[in-house]
Symmetry: C2
Subunit: 338 residues, 2 copies
DNA sequence: TGCTGCAATGTAAACCTTTACATGAAAAAA
DNA sequence: TTTTTTCATGTAAAGGTTTACATTGCAGCA
């Protein structure tokens, strides 16, 4: 037995045909006589031949792999979007590989090399910031689609959720419950999506005619810890809100923990909303009222867009914003009478 | 400007040397005259040349990528082990790619093709079950290291945590607090690691001379939901435990939710322990007493083992079990007096 | 001066495919 | 029967590397 994997030549020898015929039998079966096709298939079965993808890509100048570049695989939003991406890719004959950059430009650069070698045909980017340091590479960017936020470079389509509308839904719920003093616990430095959620919140407050004076905005970094911290800082002030609208679920969870630790009850004493609907949200005590991102759909749409790019079809859209849904659970109630 | 990426030939032309010299200037710089090296480096800078990894692997018959095959990227244990893997790989000139199988043999097979093409040099497997259906492929398995549990195939080294010892530590804590009726909420079908945790629990109970009659074992599937379900089922019985030892944190979280939903207080009425120390564990209310897996270390060791395999060094060990630590938080207390 | 040996570089083959073009045989048309 | 067309297959080049081997030029030595 040979130890190295079988090549097309091994198959050709056994089937007693030329390598060209083997190749055709695989990729253009209708171009090859039925009897020959049979012999080739038998030979393939005998040798266990599987085509060398590298040689193939080298020759063809393209591959059928798509690289998903993510700064943080641990993000609770990531995995279900990935499933959407994978299913769609698979249905069109593409495979998916994941590159984890840990927010490190150096690592991002390494993945970029995949494209000069045709190891991957296209890229899905989970960050607005190109992970490859300087923009100079930009001109040679492979077919790319952003997820969550626009990529800071002209003309890269992206798929996200309508953060403004989502945030507005959340704030409108709070207002409908009777809240007038609402604190936005957020973050607007690193992620554009977060900034837009704040704008959505402001818009809702504006529409309800709630004066700027009774609005509170706190900065965090989107982690559980920062939510807890925000509560601590707020309690140093003389005016407290009756509701906390949080930029994401992690922050909301932190806020709830902070409030419970101080002996308050949610939603009796304070109401809290999140954004994202991470799996954890439904398991909190109380369960978290939040805005759901249609994660599977986001993945599916992003991949569809990328596949259009790859087939040189002019993409039908350059920006897809999906509608987020309000998920009402138990962390919101009317404000307490004081 | 050329639109296709620069090749070694472009560099050679500009540097006015042969392609062989360019190749040597890159990989064996000491074999090339300093002045030539300089010219080549300039030419590389001008062209923006980066070697075509596919052509290189094709020629060399090996790559410098390592494939991490995971059935479920969303597993809260996954991401920090991955970081350990990546850092170690990187320090030795290897890159890491992730393949997500979603527990689907078909997808697993696809990733296997990476090896017949030398697209990857080795593999880290996050499951005891080879994701490629039939064992027949087994003979041609690439260099592989398992994580968490042994791979069901002779001679594949693996790195995990000493589940027996961990489980024992947990049960000993409960016994020390005075618990005598302890329920093990677990799972022993799919994952060997889980079966071992149960054995560790039994061993601890045996050592304390606790009779089999006062032991309870419930089956679940390791999800939050199954923990909650187990509580419901237990409350149908006439004898209740005073403590719940759970096979993992997810189950423990479910158990705590189930108990709180019934109006009980943890740890006053019931004690609960988990296993894994997922990030969520410390944010629960009450925070969860659990067994910590040294995730970064697991990743590091697994990669070290794989790198040994790749360099044809006989691996120093074939099984590495790391010591898990008890993390005492607030979900365990003495049993209530009845 | 004439050799030997070494350092630096070049030439060409090999890795495994795909495919344009060439070839040959059989079927169709004359 | 001869000519043309069609179909099935083969030959060889190309894609971008690395490297064994060949070549060249020069220093060191007798």
């Amino acid at each position: 037995m040979s130890n190295s994997p079988a090549t097309i030549e091994d198959v050709a020898r056994i089937a007693e045909v030329s390598i060209a015929t083997v190749s055709r039998a695989i990729h253009l079966p209708e171009k090859v006589a039925q009897s020959t096709r049979l012999k080739v298939n038998q030979a393939i079965a005998i040798t266990g031949y599987t085509p060398n993808a590298m040689a193939r890509s080298l020759r063809l100048g393209k591959s059928n792999m798509i690289l998903v570049v993510a700064p943080d695989i641990g993000d609770p939003n990531f995995s279900s979007i990935l499933v959407g991406l994978e299913n769609e890719a698979r249905a069109h004959g593409y495979g998916v590989l994941i590159g984890h950059t840990q927010n490190d430009a150096q690592r991002g650069m390494e993945y970029l090399k995949f494209f000069s070698s045709n190891q991957a045909a296209g890229m899905i980017l989970f960050t607005g910031i190109l992970p490859f340091g300087h923009q100079s590479m930009t001109a040679r960017l492979p077919p790319t689609v952003g997820v969550f936020e626009p990529v800071f470079n002209g003309g890269i389509p992206y798929v996200g959720v309508d953060d403004l509308e989502g945030a507005r839904k959340a704030v409108e719920l709070l207002i409908a419950e009777g809240h007038r003093k609402i604190a936005f616990i957020g973050e607007n430095r690193s992620r554009l999506a977060y900034a837009r959620r704040r704008l959505g919140c402001e818009a809702g407050l504006d529409a309800a005619g709630i004066p700027a004076a009774s609005r509170i905005v706190m900065d965090g970094d989107g982690t559980i810890e920062s939510g807890r911290l925000a509560v601590d800082q707020l309690f140093l002030r003389d005016t407290l809100p009756t509701a906390f609208m949080c930029v994401n679920d992690q922050t909301a969870i932190g806020v709830m923990l902070g409030l419970t630790a101080r002996g308050y009850d949610v939603p009796r004493d304070f109401s809290v909303t999140g954004f994202d609907d991470v799996p954890q949200a439904s398991f909190m005590q109380p369960s978290l009222t939040t805005i759901r991102q249609p994660r599977g759909l986001i993945g599916k749409h992003a991949m569809t867009l990328l596949l259009q790019l790859l087939s040189d079809t002019e993409p039908t859209e350059t920006e897809i914003l999906l509608r987020p849904d309000l998920v009402v659970r138990n962390s919101v109630g009317p404000p307490p009478r004081r």
